[in-house]
Subunit: 154 residues, 2 copies
DNA sequence: TATTGTTATACTCTATAACTATA
DNA sequence: TATAGTTATAGAGTATAACAATA
C-alpha cells in the first residue's frame, strides 16, 4: 500500500488540526529561541509566564499548569530561584505548601518575555486583519469550551 | 466559568497568537501521550512521521525537519533502528551519506501513529462545523503565505 | 491515612566541540 | 578544505518510585 490518502480530507476538524500541528511544531523553535535569549529554558519560561507578580502560587498549581509531574517542578523552581527570579515562601495555613512568588527581577524579565512572546510570528502577522480577528474568535471559543468542560458539542 | 484574564492585546494577530501559544502547550502533553502509547519519545515520533515508507531520506534532511543539530539525530535514529522501525542504508553516489528507510514494522506503527495524531483534540473537535471549516481555511492561508514569503525572500 | 514537596534514578532531548571517513 | 555523520560531554526536561513533614 502506498502512502495512505489523507482520510482527514472530509473532516474539517481533522484538517484544521493537521494544519495546526504543523504550525505548532514550527513555533516550538521560535518559543525556545525567545526564551533562550532571556537565558530561560522553555519550561522555565512557561513557569515564569504562569506566575503573576503579586499573586503567589503553590507548587502543585504550577505542576498542573506545566502538565507534568510535581517532582519536576522542584528542579524548574530551583533554577528560577537560583537566578533570583522567583522565591519560595511558606503558606500560612498549611506548612506543607510552598508558595511561589515572583521577585522584582523576575517581574522585569517576565515583562520582556511576555512582550516578545506576544509578537505574532510571520504566519499570523501575514494574515489579513479579518482573518486575524476570525482566528482569534475561533480559538477563544475552542479554549473556552474546553475550559468550561466541553459540554457544548454540535 | 470566565476565561483566564488575558491581557487585552492591541491587535487581533497578537491575540490570536497568544491563544495559539496556550494551545501549543496543551498539545505537547497530548502529543507525548500518543507517542508514549506506541513506545515512542516525542522526537522519535516526529522523526518516524517524517520518514515516508518507500522514500529513504538522508540523515541531514531529518535533522533539518527536526530543527535540531545533526548530532542529535544519531541518537534518535539509533533508538528507532534498535527497535527495528527504520534502518540505515548507504547512499549510492556519496559514501558519507546514510539514507533512512522505514521497515515494514516501522510502517505499521507509523500508520497507527498518524491516525491517532490526526484525530482532532477536544478543543478543536468541540468547535462547530462552521468554525472548523473557517479555522482550516485561515490556517491554510497562514501556512501558504509563509511558504510563499520564504521562497521569495530567499 | 492522605497530601505536599523532595530526593533518587533512569531515560530522552538538546547544543557545542572534536573526531572519522569521505569528498 | 569542506561535508556527513559520529562521539563526548554537559545541562535540561520527564516519569516513576520512595521518602519526610505535615495534615
Amino acid at each position: 500500500m502506498p502512502s495512505p490518502p489523507r482520510r482527514a480530507a472530509r473532516n474539517p476538524g481533522a484538517e484544521a488540526w493537521a494544519l495546526l500541528s504543523d504550525l505548532l511544531r514550527v513555533q516550538r523553535t521560535r518559543y525556545a529561541a525567545i526564551a533562550g535569549d532571556l537565558g530561560l529554558a522553555p519550561s522555565q519560561a512557561f513557569a515564569l509566564k504562569q506566575l503573576q507578580p503579586g499573586t503567589p502560587l503553590p507548587m502543585s498549581a504550577l505542576a498542573e499548569a506545566l502538565g507534568c509531574d510535581a517532582s519536576n517542578v522542584t528542579g524548574i523552581v530551583d533554577r528560577l530561584e537560583a537566578r533570583g527570579l522567583i522565591e519560595r515562601r511558606g503558606a500560612e495555613h498549611d506548612r506543607r505548601v510552598k508558595m511561589l512568588a515572583v521577585t522584582q527581577k523576575g517581574a522585569d524579565i517576565r515583562g520582556t518575555l511576555l512582550a516578545r512572546l506576544h509578537e505574532a510570528p510571520p504566519e499570523i502577522a501575514g494574515l489579513s486583519r479579518t482573518d486575524q480577528r476570525e482566528l482569534r474568535d475561533i480559538l477563544r471559543r475552542a479554549l473556552d469550551a474546553k475550559a468550561a468542560g466541553e459540554s457544548s458539542r454540535r
